[in-house]
Amino acid sequence: MEHAILEWLRKEMGDSLMATVRTLPSIPVPPESFEARRNQYFSTKILKEMLGDVPQDAMKLLGVTDKDLCIPILTYVFGEAQVGGTAAVVSLARLRQEHYGLAPDRPLLLERLRKECLHELGHTFGLYHCPSRDCVMHLSNTVVDVDTRGGDFCRGCHTVVVSKTGTERRR
């Protein structure tokens, strides 16, 4: 995982959630999460591994990986979160233009990552998918969905996040 991306993400998440965000040293994905037949990693097992290592002062723990994630019943996932829980994980693999045979586009990659991280963290705040297309909690199964939906929480979802974090996020 590229350090610069992680550092950028730390600032973005801090700004968006009005929270103190810090990065932890990277950890390897658990080997048992590897699905050899599919050459993918089972995200639920990664979440489990992360939960064993939550710092005492942390409210949420967000994992970011380059590995392509899946759950057994789905061909892929961009990320997974415990709804109303602590941990969330997001994969960069399918957010990269290269995955679709296109030229790399770093600003686009970063924007997608920011949206996906907010989305998965939103789940940890107890949010479900939001019917509003302008909301970052709107369901997205493809990168096109990720690109077209809004980059921020809608008013309703925002209220829920604020009530959980206890802070008013900067607009």
Binding site: I73, L74, T75, H123, Y128, H129, P131, N141, C157
Partner: protein, 455 residues
């Protein structure tokens, strides 16, 4: 924010990992999910909630997905079932769909496919449910038991009938023959607290005075020659229920007086009897006669009229509520489909136009007979113009002033229109040969414009 209404989804799969991951994934989408590991468990949970959808694994030990679906459909035929399978074999997919599965998914699913499909199903399902509900609501308004109408006057009558049903007041129903006077009487009975007691109908016009008397009041053994046993009359049989006196305008003056006494004193004697029998049945009466005119001509007792006419309902003839014709046609087709085991799906526009332009002197009953015939003769699953056979439309009264030639001309014209100007068929119907028909058409100067009805 979260979704408006929780959608209930049951996941049935023997693999723990599939249950867990599918559940959490669907929950993120705001669905209410319950996962069970076998068909048996699924059937147990079925009554717990109003399930909107079941996601069922095809291969499970014990009961497989298709067997489970069959079982579920026995009690909940509307249940939407999606079969999940690990291997996409055309055979199993086809089998599942044939057996009534809504769709099938091959594991692992593309997340986009499944969420879109579920969303589509749920939306569609909601629309279907809403549609069913609205249709029922709509029909409720148009219907009073077996009667159906969307005419404003008729709907007022339905409303009035529902209200008066709750009382025991006498109701006089007037209207031309075939407008549904007996149906309305029956509906009043069925809507009343007396619904579980008998509804007894007497057709006053069909019996002679003495017969009607013993029919109504019954007779003691030996009351007259042939009265070998005690016979309870309709008044007695209708105890606690409703007595419907049809064609009340046709009864004799003597019987009118007897009936008046019964209505006033609420008790009667059997013919030849001395015991006074109390009556507690509700009286409904109907007539197609103009009772006011009959009173003026001293053929009907005014006091009986007032006694019967506590609540008066006048059913308008069908020609004054033509908007009901298509509604009644659909209703009758549905009815005869069931009675005759037919599958007529509807009626052509042309046929409806013919029916709409008729005056229906015999009212809904006549229409029903025409539709009954049409359903019998219809070859396809739609009633068309050629299936409609109307009784000769020109009124009999007009015939009297017409010459034989005029009647012949009018009749040929009607037959030609009925047969869409098909000469062979028309000639056959008229019992003459083709050439004769051509000659008559020429002689009477008949032209094809009547067929405009059809186009």
């Amino acid at each position: 924010m979260t979704m408006e209404k929780k959608v209930n989804i049951m996941v049935v799969d023997d693999e723990e990992i599939v249950r867990a991951s599918l559940t959490s994934w669907l929950e993120e989408d705001g669905y209410c999910v319950e996962a069970v590991e076998s068909g048996r468990k699924a059937l147990e949970r079925l009554p717990d909630r109003n399930w909107d959808l079941m996601l069922v694994d095809l291969k499970m030990p014990g009961m497989d997905g298709i067997q489970l679906m069959d079982e579920v459909h026995k009690t909940s035929p509307e249940m939407l079932v999606i079969i999940m399978t690990a291997y996409a074999t055309v055979d199993t997919a086809v089998k599942a769909m044939k057996k009534g599965a809504y769709d099938y998914f091959v594991k692992p699913f593309n997340p986009d496919d499944i969420s879109l499909t579920i969303r589509k199903i749920v939306d569609h399902h909601k629309l279907v449910q809403e549609n069913l509900f609205l249709r029922k609501e709509l029909k409720k308004q148009y219907k009073l038991r077996d009667m159906i109408s969307k005419n404003e006057k008729m709907l007022e009558i339905f409303e009035l009938a529902r209200t008066v049903a709750k009382s025991s007041s006498t109701v006089l129903i007037q209207g031309e023959s075939g407008t549904g006077k007996e149906l309305l009487a029956r509906a009043i009975h069925d809507e009343s607290p007396r619904m579980d007691a008998p509804f007894i109908s007497v057709s006053c016009a069909s019996l002679t005075e003495t017969l009607l008397e013993s029919e109504l009041f019954g007779h003691e053994k030996g009351a007259f020659t042939g009265a070998t046993v005690l016979n309870r009359g309709k008044l007695e049989l209708a105890q606690d229920g409703t007595l419907f006196l049809d064609e009340i305008g046709d009864i004799s003056l003597k019987l009118q007086m007897d009936l008046l006494r019964v209505l006033e004193q609420r008790e009667f004697r059997r013919v030849g009897g001395s015991e006074l029998i109390p009556i507690n049945s509700r009286i409904l009466a109907a007539t197609n006669r103009d009772l006011a005119a009959a009173i003026a001509e001293d053929r009907f007792r005014a006091d009986l009229y007032y006694r019967l006419n506590v609540i008066s309902i006048h059913i308008p003839p069908l020609r004054e509520r033509r908007e009901d014709i298509p509604l009644l046609v659909d209703h009758f087709i549905e009815k005869f489909n069931i009675e005759m085991g037919k599958e007529i799906r509807g009626i052509s526009e042309g046929a409806v136009r013919i029916l709409m332009s008729n005056d229906w002197p015999g009212n809904a009953r006549e229409l029903r007979n025409v539709i009954e015939r049409a359903v019998v003769v219809a070859k396809g699953n739609v009633v068309t113009e050629s299936d409609i056979s109307l009784p000769s439309t020109s009124s009999d009264a007009n015939h009297r002033t017409k010459s034989l030639e005029e009647i012949e001309k009018a009749h040929i014209r009607v037959v030609l229109i009925e047969n869409q100007w098909n000469i062979v068929r028309s000639a056959h119907a008229l019992g003459i040969d083709r050439v004769t028909l051509y000659n008559k058409i020429k002689k009477f100067g008949l032209k094809k414009e009547g067929v405009a009805l059809k186009e």
